[in-house]
């Protein structure tokens, strides 16, 4: 777990996704206080339950690396095979940047789609491809559709969790990634415009304050009881907003974490 958290911090900007499934029955409600107490630096995805269809070892901790194309590349105890695993990660991150595939065309499309995250340019390249017997064009169209769909959904998913700052950033990133593709651009512009509404401005202001406190906790720049008090103050000043409710919940988690010390 500590190694995976470090990998998340070291490689996330280059495209590595770190997922941490908790497999001993913790609930999503109980996890935040535990994480604040034991792993305050953690920003990676934490999942409740296993259910990953890969070969498993005899217990935990257990780690696995899935490549850019969904291939299981490495599996084992986190402290074993460190160099081999890290070399695999580096090789996969190179693929993110430069693309991959059997043809040069597929490589170029994926470099735009995943490396530059330029969905509009990837679409232009795909549209220019001839219909081929290997259905490469169709496969790339499918990948593009999935990549576009989750980016649109992410804006709402983050908003539903009252993570308004990240939601707005997702909308901005979406707009940038589809620039030049009119239909997608209109949709992204509307998603972004939603953040100009008065109610949303209040949510954003409160969410920014919450994020400041969370950053301080993750950087160990503030004691948990102080962070809790700051979040309670945000919750009070932003009463009636979703961001205020989140601030209260996070304050509760910090209070529980502080009690466990």
């Amino acid at each position: 777990m500590p190694q995976a958290i470090e990998h998340d911090l070291d490689y996330r900007d280059r495209g590595l996704v770190v997922v941490l499934p908790e497999v001993q029955g913790a609930t999503l409600q109980s996890l935040p206080s535990f994480l604040f107490k034991v792993f305050p630096k953690l920003e990676a995805r934490v999942v409740r339950g296993g259910g990953v269809p890969i070969v498993m070892g005899r217990g935990i901790p257990y780690s696995a690396l899935i490549g850019v194309d969904g291939t299981l590349l490495w599996a084992g105890h986190p402290s074993s095979g460190g160099k081999e695993r890290d070399a695999c990660i580096e090789a996969e991150l190179k693929k993110v940047a430069t693309g991959w595939g059997e043809s040069l065309a597929a490589k170029k499309v994926r470099a735009q789609l995943y490396g530059k995250q330029d969905l509009a340019e990837a679409k232009k390249l795909i549209d220019a491809l001839p219909d081929d017997p290997d259905a490469e064009r169709q496969a790339l169209q499918g990948e593009l559709a999935v990549a576009h769909a989750w980016r649109v959904r992410a804006v709402q998913a983050l908003r539903d969790e009252a993570r308004f700052v990240e939601s707005k950033q997702a909308a901005q990133a979406l707009k940038k990634s589809v620039a030049g593709e009119p239909e997608w651009e209109t949709e992204a512009t509307q998603l972004l415009a939603d953040f100009d509404a008065e109610a949303m401005t209040k949510e954003l202001a409160a969410a920014k304050k919450v994020d400041v406190v969370l950053r301080a906790v993750r950087g160990k720049k503030v004691k948990l009881d102080v962070a809790e008090r700051r979040l309670r103050a945000v919750a009070k000043s932003a009463a009636g907003t979703a961001a205020g409710t989140r601030a209260e919940q996070l304050a509760d988690a910090l209070a529980a974490a502080d009690k466990k010390r």
Partner: protein, 73 residues
């Protein structure tokens, strides 16, 4: 009694022996848990903290995923 005990012990190996043979080759998405070198079958992660709404493996295509199983106890 003794015969029943022996049968119970032998049952798991019989089940394994009867399990369908796995096809080899890195490109085939297969039944059962993926081994190193296999494509991992589509699945969804469970409820998630710090996510962005993506749960299905296919939605992470284009990014390597490091999975680290752990426990709170």
């Amino acid at each position: 009694m003794h015969v029943r005990f022996v049968l119970l012990l032998a049952l798991p190996s019989l089940v394994v022996a009867q399990a369908p043979r796995r096809e080899s080759g890195p490109d085939s998405a297969r039944q059962g848990p993926a081994q190193v070198g296999d494509k991992v079958a589509e699945f969804s992660f469970g409820p998630m903290l710090n996510g962005d709404g993506r749960r299905k493996l296919s939605e992470f295509r284009g990014q390597p995923i490091l999975i680290d199983f752990w426990g709170t106890h």
